[in-house]
């Protein structure tokens, strides 16, 4: 752990370190949600009433904020993952690596902001 923290402090001015850190944090967050999500879907068969109650929690205001966070983690991880795959499999794209990094963020915001609005809209419409 200290090795990586040290790396982060000493390694300045490159986008890659942030890409790596965000990829790791979003990946761990998604993994945690996957564990929860397989169990909650199992409840549809095992205990439908418990599932419905859990869904009310997911649809609550706090649940929706976490839903946006999950969506953000998923979208970032997907876009940055694609960037990694492109650079790994086509090394000639390396000359464009900075453009790819900025493209990741432009697409992230371009899709993420409308997505967040759709998920949070019931909050200001007074539906939840």
């Amino acid at each position: 752990m200290r090795r990586y923290l040290g790396l982060m402090v000493s390694y300045r001015g490159q986008q890659g370190t942030w890409a790596w850190l965000f990829h790791r944090i979003s990946g761990i967050a998604i993994w945690l949600f996957i564990v929860l999500h397989v169990i909650d879907i199992y409840l549809v068969g095992g205990d439908p009433h418990a599932y419905d109650q859990l869904l009310q929690l997911y649809a609550s205001p706090i649940g929706r904020v976490m839903e946006v966070a999950l969506g953000a983690a998923l979208l970032y991880h997907a876009l940055n993952g694609l960037r990694i795959v492109i650079l790994d499999l086509w090394p000639s794209m390396t000359v464009h690596h900075r453009s790819l990094w900025w493209a990741t963020w432009i697409i992230f915001l371009g899709l993420g902001i409308p997505g967040a609005i759709i998920i949070l809209r019931p909050l200001w419409k007074g539906l939840v």
Binding site: M1, Y4, G16, T17, A19, W20, H23, R24, G27, I28, I30, W31, I34, V35, V38, I39, I41, Y42, L43, V44, G45, G46, P48, H49, Y51, D52, L55, Q56, Y58, A59, G63, R64, E67, G71, L74, L75, A78, G81, L82, R83, I84, V85, L87, D88, L89, T94, H97, G115, I118, I119, P122, L127, V128
Partner: protein, 132 residues
């Protein structure tokens, strides 16, 4: 674990064929998940609202079609492989003592198997709803 200075992803391993296979499979499943997981999220969070997704919604509107059961089971297999192999990389980065590694990874892989069984059982055995 060596990291590429360009992508800051894992460098392609050399020496171990198994590790090289995992490295490629992470990329293949990653691209598949880019399409399938983002489609899954978009359908169930933008088209449908979580407030409507009761257990009856799943039996009557989602899993009354074989296509969506097959889609979700494919997604289950891809995401369990990708997320558990990804978390394995994270764990190996931070756990160095052999005995700790063995114990933690054993419990970790067992969790993956249990989740695979739970997910497979529910997607294959849940009775389809009335509107099928």
């Amino acid at each position: 674990m060596s990291i590429s200075p360009v992508t800051r992803g894992r460098k392609r391993p050399t020496g171990s064929r198994r590790e090289t296979a995992v490295w490629y499979l992470m990329r293949v499943t990653g691209v598949a998940l880019f399409v399938l997981a983002l489609a899954h999220f978009s359908i169930l969070h933008f088209i449908y609202d979580p407030a409507d997704q009761t257990a009856a919604f799943i039996t009557d509107q989602r899993w009354n079609q074989l296509f969506w059961r097959a889609f979700d089971w494919t997604l289950l297999m891809l995401v369990l492989f990708h997320s558990f192999m990804g978390m394995r990389t994270v764990l190996l980065d931070y756990l160095h003592r052999p005995r700790v590694r063995l114990v933690v990874l054993s419990v970790f892989y067992l969790t993956a198997v249990v989740l695979f069984v739970l997910g497979t059982v529910v997607v294959m055995t849940l009775p389809a709803g009335s509107r099928s």
